[in-house]
Subunit: 387 residues, 2 copies
């Protein structure tokens, strides 16, 4: 029996309880109470506070009969010291349930705080497998962008400010108990973040679909995410209509369910060191790298291309001979129309750093599931083409 081939058919699929719908931020307190909480530690950021959503969340939590402490000191690419300070504050306040309300930064910080309050030590201690021993406090995550997927994933990405690199924590226990999405929150998301977070979802879906660990359970969600992004990303960026924003929120959820279980690839392996070194926007980095990495992967994933072409909005039967071409063209056209950034140079990456970035990417956990094995030279070539 061919064990390798058989191994490819094994799959594991785990997702938290998912609640999705317009207006459902109103359930944020009910969710925290249902998990047994009495005092909520609400992790969020200044932007959401300014847009009025934090006040709404506080009100809903109190209406559910719970106490609440606000911790809104999270910045983009959340920092190790923000997590440490949050954990100390959680303990000092005697909170017993964590709610993360925000983009990937607030949600990943909430995960980091959850790890530290029950396991102690420094967030750097939890990068390796099996390093989180004690169960985390109850965790509810509410995404407020259209891209991160952190609300369903078993990943948390925290910046190590001393080493200037991203720490990738991958552990099933950092998936929350409840993922609660209210797409109405996207109404106040600035245009550039609609684009960059939607391209993050796009990368999640594409990398999950190409991953060597993908299965039918993850592929159906990856393809649905792609169809929704194809349908609504450009319109959402340009017109900001609630239906398109809802489609993108839904795409983020589907893409998150896919990549949390099939993992990612070279785009994210490269994006993590770049984000660590420059504090640049994660979605922008992905949007820039994506076309080059897809071109690089295409020769080894030929049999998946007709379905992918269909996912990207090509309407024809699944036997297109020119699927590779269609995929490349549609992806390029979509990124262009959504006004995504198109070069590493344009977001401040320095040419002399590329060799170091390639070296670091080779050690990122995301490279393991890339469909095409890349060495340092391949990665450097990809970075140079995207420069």
């Amino acid at each position: 029996m061919d064990n390798t081939k058989e191994g490819m058919h094994h799959c594991k699929f785990e997702v938290p309880e998912i609640i999705f719908g317009r207006g459902l931020l109103s359930q944020i307190g009910v969710c925290a109470r249902r998990l047994g909480g009495h005092k909520v530690f609400l992790v969020s950021d200044q932007g959401l506070f300014d847009a009025g959503w934090v006040d709404k969340a506080l009100k809903y939590i109190m209406e559910a009969g719970l106490e609440v402490v606000l911790y809104d000191g999270i910045t983009s690419n959340p920092k190790d010291h923000e997590v440490t300070r949050g954990a100390l504050e959680y303990v000092r306040q005697g909170a017993d349930v964590i709610v993360g309300l925000g983009g990937g930064s607030s949600m990943d910080a909430a995960k980091g705080i959850a790890i530290l309050v029950s396991n102690g030590g420094r967030i750097q201690d939890y990068v390796g497998p099996d390093s989180i021993i004690r169960p985390l406090p109850p965790l509810v995550l509410c995404p407020t962008t259209c891209g991160t997927g952190s609300d369903v994933s078993q990943f948390a990405i925290i910046n190590d400010t001393e080493q200037r690199c991203k720490l990738t924590i991958m552990n099933r226990c950092v998936a929350p108990d409840i993922s609660l999405t209210d797409p109405d929150i996207l109404a106040t998301l600035p245009e550039e973040f609609v684009c960059t977070t939607a391209t993050d979802a796009l990368s999640h879906a594409l990398e999950a679909f190409f991953s060597v660990a993908s299965t039918s359970l993850t592929d159906v969600h990856a393809i649905k995410a792609l169809r929704l992004v194809s349908q609504s990303m450009v319109a959402a960026v340009r017109e900001h209509r609630p239906e398109d924003l809802e489609n993108l929120a839904r795409a983020s959820l589907h893409a998150g369910m896919a990549f949390s279980n099939s993992l990612l690839g070279i785009v994210h392996a490269l994006a993590h060191p770049i984000g660590g070194l420059y504090d640049a926007n994660h979605g922008s980095i992905n949007a820039i790298l994506l076309p080059e990495v897809i071109k690089y992967d295409i020769p080894v994933v030929a049999e998946k291309l007709p379905e992918l072409a269909w996912g990207l909005g090509h309407r024809a039967d699944g036997s297109a001979d020119n699927a590779a071409e269609i995929v490349e063209e549609r992806l390029d056209a979509m990124l262009e129309a959504a006004r995504a950034p198109r070069s590493l140079r344009s977001i401040g990456v320095k040419k002399e750093d590329l060799p170091e970035l390639a070296k670091k990417a080779l050690k990122d956990v995301c490279i393991v599931t890339s469909p095409r094995q890349a060495d340092e030279k391949d990665l450097l070539a990809l970075l140079e083409r995207a420069f």
Copy 2:
């Protein structure tokens, strides 16, 4: 704001941890141990014992360092007294984790036993909502047919032998902790059960797709299930090849994930009283009712038909004007080629019982999510057409 319409976009999605792959029955003990169990109560049936799978399971459980008690007295359409006896045996033996290995009958019985050992009383007490108060013991379910979906669903169906009816227990807590599928087990499934359990999965997928509670999260799984059944049901029945059987096992899983979250419709609302009255095969009943119910539903689900036609193997773009015709034809051809039973008369249903069956179906919980509201007269007409 249109609250009704908005309400339609709300969704909840919950599935257990899923493990799927050829040869993975070997992990059955490891799963039970991971849930904290020391003494396994293994619920199964005579057919699986005769095929050698129960012995294998016992060996794997003991190799994981656990004690194990076998309870293999489950018959098809599992009976209330089998559940009661199982619960008493579980307590007497001091078991602390339940593993169900079998088709829907063994798995639903395992769920029923889990309810009684922690909540007491009679299984009849747990039909209504919110009637299960205390948490269930850890539960691992391993399906051995290609249809039930019980291993991922929040349903358990038990026969009330006194009232001669099926009790439909619908509660999120009866979804197991782990769903473990080893498609190799299907190698010993008799041909007629390949057909009837695959048609059960087919009904789950179709009813979930048409359900008023369906969402993009359930639709992707319903369509994937339909594609897999279309691709492999007839071949699996006729040739019994491992690849086709694996596709059907996978279809069952996808269909289960869909219907557990979107619920079902008239096929199941009618199948439950029929199964309760005649102890007939559930998959056979579904296969017979399905074409008539789909014809009945089609006028109210027009916008979903092109995607459904594609799911049933029609290869063309999604704008087919004749989608309804394609759906009816493909469904009919598939059932015919798989040698499914085609009339209620042929499985022993008596004409004089039809009015009573229609009356009972109207009270079944599955009718609530039917896309087309049916009264008693409509249901009787459907039964007569399927007679």
